[in-house]
């Protein structure tokens, strides 16, 4: 394509014809190179014709940059020092531009060829029988080339196609032709033809041939195009250039078609495999994000809850009248309920991920039941409900299990009973289903005289987030996770759940769980702990950035009779620890400037062995292990109460 050089600026650009105005047809007829210093006016004047033209506009300006208001027009700024060389510059730019135009034309031709070949391909699929017959004919007539080609194709598919990665797939496909099996000048793949076309050449000079084909000169051979089609769209185009200007021979066509089919089906297999791997990676990533999110939620909720529980604990220790005591108890009950909801959320998340584990401890069933029932005295009383305990197994026999999780199940049942009962009584009952020398199967039941459960809801009450009432009309709180967690806990304990209910009359929830009988004696250190804690005055360092939590810990330890030093961050804590001697350290993890983990690591590096307790809202097993590995001796999960603090001090000192 020839090009014309114009300038709309008088005088000074050799090689550029000065014009006051240019005919639209001159811009349209051939590629133009134009110099102007008022590009906006030029665009306005020729806006109707410019979309149909191809050209380069050179503009005097501060710096070189490329802008493209029209796809087919390039705009280049030039600095004064380039002025003497504008014409040679224009020639270079034109040649690059024309290369692009030629390549774009070649792509267009390939699209046409591909579309046409797709039609041929579709028809040939219908002619497949005839093609096969012709292939058999070739073989029958000892077309050795065909037999060898087919054998190589089979081997190639198994050895290379199946083993290549998806990204390398097009290159692998054309590597087959690197054997130069055919009488071709070149073979290439137009990769990702439908999105970001890129030619990958195997052998020979297909790219040059594509340019030549556009200009139709030279000794270009015959270009045949076969689409590698996925989901009914050509994704890559297999391009073969013969040495001579002739169509492919029939057996070559048949072979290419067969090759295309095999390549496509193998690619599809790889794609499915890749999709599965990607889906798995996505799922794992989502899981990791979810875990991180849950950990953050956990921490963010526990922190203020710790403050609330702490203040409640301090209130309880102060002088209150009977009404105030009742109010504080209710306050404590609400805070504990909130704590349970947070725990439920975390438990649910652990259960979903499948990394929920039970602890193994020894406990006395009778003791556990009494402790549990005592938690609900006041809430039941306030609702006018009578709470009873019927224990048919009072033996002083230690059992092996997870008493906290067992308690969680019973708490859940009692909480629901209180929630759904307006009058009457709630009975917690323990019976023995079976017993022998080594083990026992216990039945824990909670019966109420509440609203009961309709028949149609019986199957779904153990499903997460399902509640008896609709979300907007419900009169009772809760996320609906409790029974779902109970179900999982029971399952983990190798137990089973039973429910009996009559609407309007009440319900009985039972768990039947097997336990091993422990050979150890019961643990009666609780009283001793209380005595120990009160025994001596300790020097305690607290590192906590939260004002309320700090206040609670300070008040609590002072009431215990201990002296306190405070730090607002790890940095201050380190200064205190390095210059003082403490009996025990209490630290938060999330603190500004230096966090608890960084601080304890430095403390231990300095060979300071003072017992250290972390009080944290991060409570997953993973995090607990990290804290212990960093150098802490104990981990207390927020919210902590005074008994937790006493117990940990006694155990460490």
């Amino acid at each position: 394509m020839k090009f014309n050089c114009f300038s709309l600026i008088a005088g000074k650009y050799p090689g550029f014809e000065y014009r006051e105005s240019i005919e639209p047809s001159e811009l349209r007829h051939s590629l133009f190179v134009l110099i102007t210093d008022d590009i906006e006016s030029f665009f306005n004047k020729y806006s109707a014709i410019l979309p149909k033209t191809k050209g380069i506009i050179i503009v005097p300006g501060e710096s070189f940059s490329f802008e493209k208001p029209y796809e087919n027009i390039r705009i280049i700024r030039f600095t004064p020092d380039v002025e003497p060389a504008l014409l040679p510059l224009a020639e270079i730019l034109v040649s690059i531009f024309m290369d692009n135009i030629k390549l774009a034309s070649a792509y267009e031709l390939l699209k046409i060829e591909s579309g046409r070949t797709q039609v041929q391909y579709n028809r040939l699929l219908g002619f497949y029988e005839s093609v096969q017959e012709k292939a058999r004919h070739d073989i029958r007539h000892q077309n050795k080339w065909t037999i060898e080609a087919l054998l190589k194709l089979i081997k190639f598919r198994n050895d290379e196609l199946l083993k290549s990665s998806l990204e390398d797939y097009p290159e692998t496909v054309i590597s087959f032709f690197r054997d130069n099996y055919f009488d071709f000048k070149g073979v290439a793949i137009l990769k990702n033809y439908d999105t970001t076309p890129e030619i990958i050449i195997s052998t020979g000079d297909v790219k040059e041939a594509l340019h030549e084909k556009n200009g139709n000169k030279g000794e270009a051979g015959w270009v045949s195009v076969f689409p590698l089609t996925f989901e009914n769209r050509p994704k890559h185009l297999l391009i073969a250039l013969k040495n001579k200007k002739e169509y492919l021979k029939e057996y070559e066509t048949s072979f290419f078609l067969l090759f295309s089919e095999i390549a496509v089906s193998t690619y599809r297999e790889k794609l499915n495999e890749h999709t599965l791997i990607e889906a798995k990676d996505e799922a794992e990533k989502a899981n990791r994000l979810k875990s991180q999110f849950m950990a953050n939620i956990n921490h963010e909720l526990r922190n203020p809850l710790n403050g609330i529980m702490g203040m409640i604990g301090l209130l309880k220790m102060s002088e209150l009248d009977s009404i105030q005591k009742q109010q504080v108890s209710l306050l404590e009950f609400s805070a504990q309920s909130l704590g349970r909801i947070i725990n439920d959320l975390l438990d649910f998340s652990s259960i979903e991920k499948g990394n929920f584990r039970l602890n193994r401890e020894t406990f006395l069933a009778d003791e556990l039941l009494k402790k549990t029932v005592s938690l609900f005295d006041i809430p039941a009383q306030n609702k006018g409900l009578k709470l009873k305990l019927v224990n048919n197994y009072t033996a002083n026999q230690q059992l092996e299990g997870d008493p906290n999780r067992l308690q969680q199940i019973i708490i859940n049942f009692i909480t629901n009973s209180i929630k759904y009962s307006e009058h009457g009584e709630i009975t917690l009952r323990l019976d023995v289903d079976e017993e022998d020398r080594n083990g026992i199967i216990l039945r824990f039941s909670v019966s109420d005289t509440g609203i009961g459960i309709p028949e149609e809801k019986m199957d779904s009450i153990f499903t997460e987030f399902v509640q008896l009432e609709d979300t907007y009309t419900k009169s009772r709180q809760g996320l609906g996770l409790g029974l779902a967690i109970v179900k999982e806990l029971t399952r983990n304990m190798n137990g089973k759940i039973e429910v009996e209910s009559t609407p309007g009359k009440g319900s009985t929830f039972s768990v039947i769980i097997p336990f091993k009988k422990s050979l150890h004696e019961s643990n009666i250190t609780e009283i001793k702990h209380e005595k120990k804690a009160a025994a001596r005055k300790l020097r305690i360092m607290i590192a906590e950035d939260d004002v309320i939590n700090m206040f609670y810990l300070e008040m609590t330890f002072m009431k215990m009779g201990h002296s306190i030093d405070k730090a607002k961050n790890g940095h201050d804590a380190l200064e205190l620890i390095l210059s003082n001697t403490y009996d025990i350290l209490f630290m938060d993890i999330g603190m500004p400037e230096m966090n608890g983990m960084e601080c304890i690591k430095i403390i231990r590096k300095n060979k300071i062995t003072t017992p250290a307790v972390v009080i944290s809202g991060y409570t997953s097993e993973n995090e607990i292990q990290k804290f212990m590995s960093a150098g802490f001796n104990r981990v207390l999960s927020k919210p902590v109460d005074i008994n937790n603090l006493k117990e940990v001090i006694d155990s460490l000192l």
Partner: protein, 383 residues
């Protein structure tokens, strides 16, 4: 007389128009015969073309096909044009009719009346184009009704999609139209057609047909007849290869009808063109060798001994291109062997062909509508 050709494959329609016109303007053509593959914007092409060669100075006659024929080869895409400057010796009158209410026959009649009326003298030869929606048999009947002059032409089409085909007269594009060009004046011509298909088996009489659906031959269903004469049941795949020879009254010459569809329930066969009832028919088959030989026979049958050929119009059925594959270029090699390597001609792969058989000594049969046939017209000046 002067002639020249332009063949271009650039996909840019405007650029193609510029280059085509630039190449042809050197001979100042009076008439341009031009064929396109279906991919071009004809509006853009002619906008560019007429900016070089003014519209009032040239008659443009052409259409679209399943690829184009040119002296440089047979291609699936491109534009091939031949320009003719006869020095005023050839008069060309052209007409087009796309009136929806009219049948193909009536449209042809109208065009022929106009062409004859506008012609400077008696018609010597003619060219006909129509898209494949029209009835080729009606068109050939319409031509033969009005003139004994031989006509060469075809049904225009696209990339074997059978979606659209266009005819072009003086830069305007028509669909579902009949286009006729009549040539009169002081010039010579030769035309011929042949297929290469060879009849086999016994002949039969068409008992019942309806338009282009053949129902019964020799009291059997058309499918059964084909099976009995072909030797085994023709598969759908072979429909492009098997043809039916329909004999003329002389019992010797025939034109071909190619089946497009078999209805396996009824045994009826649909063809690319009608077969009248009571026609004598035979099943035909052809190998690639036969098909190529048909083109060679057609060229050899052109009687150009007494004149200097100036340009050629070549029509070959798309089905032949489909069958011949790599050997399709032989169809133009025969032309170049006979008329020279730089002989200007243009043509396209069609969906049905028109042409007479040359009987020898410059005598022709009437113009027939064919399938899978190779049809050529050569125009020249007396020596």
């Amino acid at each position: 007389m002067k002639s020249g050709y332009s063949f271009i494959q650039t996909p840019d329609s405007y650029e193609a128009g510029i280059i085509t016109a630039e190449k042809l303007k050197t001979i100042s053509p009076e008439i341009v015969f031009i064929f396109f593959s279906i991919h071009y914007s004809l509006e853009e092409f002619f906008e560019a073309f007429y900016s070089i060669i003014p519209e009032e100075k040239v008659i443009i006659w052409g259409g679209t096909g399943d690829g184009v024929y040119s002296p440089e080869g047979v291609f699936n895409n491109g534009v091939c044009a031949v320009g003719l400057n006869s020095g005023g010796k050839i008069s060309c009158s052209a007409a087009v009719c796309d009136t929806k209410e009219l049948s193909s026959y009536n449209r042809t009649e109208l065009c022929m009346d106009e062409v004859i009326k506008k012609s400077a003298g008696p018609l010597k030869a003619g060219l006909v184009l129509s898209d494949f929606v029209n009835d080729g048999v009606e068109i050939s009947d319409g031509i033969n009704k009005k003139t004994a002059a031989p006509f060469t032409g075809a049904l225009t089409g696209d990339d074997w999609l059978f979606k659209k085909g266009f005819v072009i007269l003086n830069g305007k594009v028509y669909q579902d139209a009949v286009l006729i060009a009549g040539l009169s004046g002081d010039f010579e011509y030769a035309c011929n057609c042949a297929s290469g298909w060879k009849p086999m088996g016994r002949s039969g009489i068409v008992n019942q047909s309806e338009g282009n659906i053949i129902k019964y031959i020799d009291n059997k269903t058309a499918f059964d007849f084909l099976e009995s004469e072909f030797g085994f049941p023709p598969k759908e795949a072979e429909l492009g290869v098997i043809s039916i020879a329909v004999y003329n009254d002389d019992g010797d010459s025939f034109f071909l009808r190619t089946p497009s569809k078999i209805d396996m329930d009824t045994g009826f066969i649909t063809c690319f063109g009608s077969i009248p009832e009571n026609s004598m028919v035979r099943v035909c088959n052809a190998t690639k060798q036969d098909v190529t030989e048909g083109a060679e026979k057609c060229i050899q049958g052109l009687n150009t001994a007494n004149f200097r050929p100036v340009l050629g119009i070549v029509i070959s059925c798309g089905g032949r291109k489909w069958i011949l594959q790599d050997d399709i270029t032989k169809e133009i090699e025969f032309i170049k062997e006979k008329f020279g390597a730089d002989f200007p001609f243009t043509g396209f792969a069609s969906f049905g062909e028109f042409g007479p058989f040359h009987l020898g000594n410059g005598k022709y049969t009437e113009t027939y509508f064919h399938n899978v046939t190779y049809s050529v017209m050569i125009i020249g000046e007396k020596i």
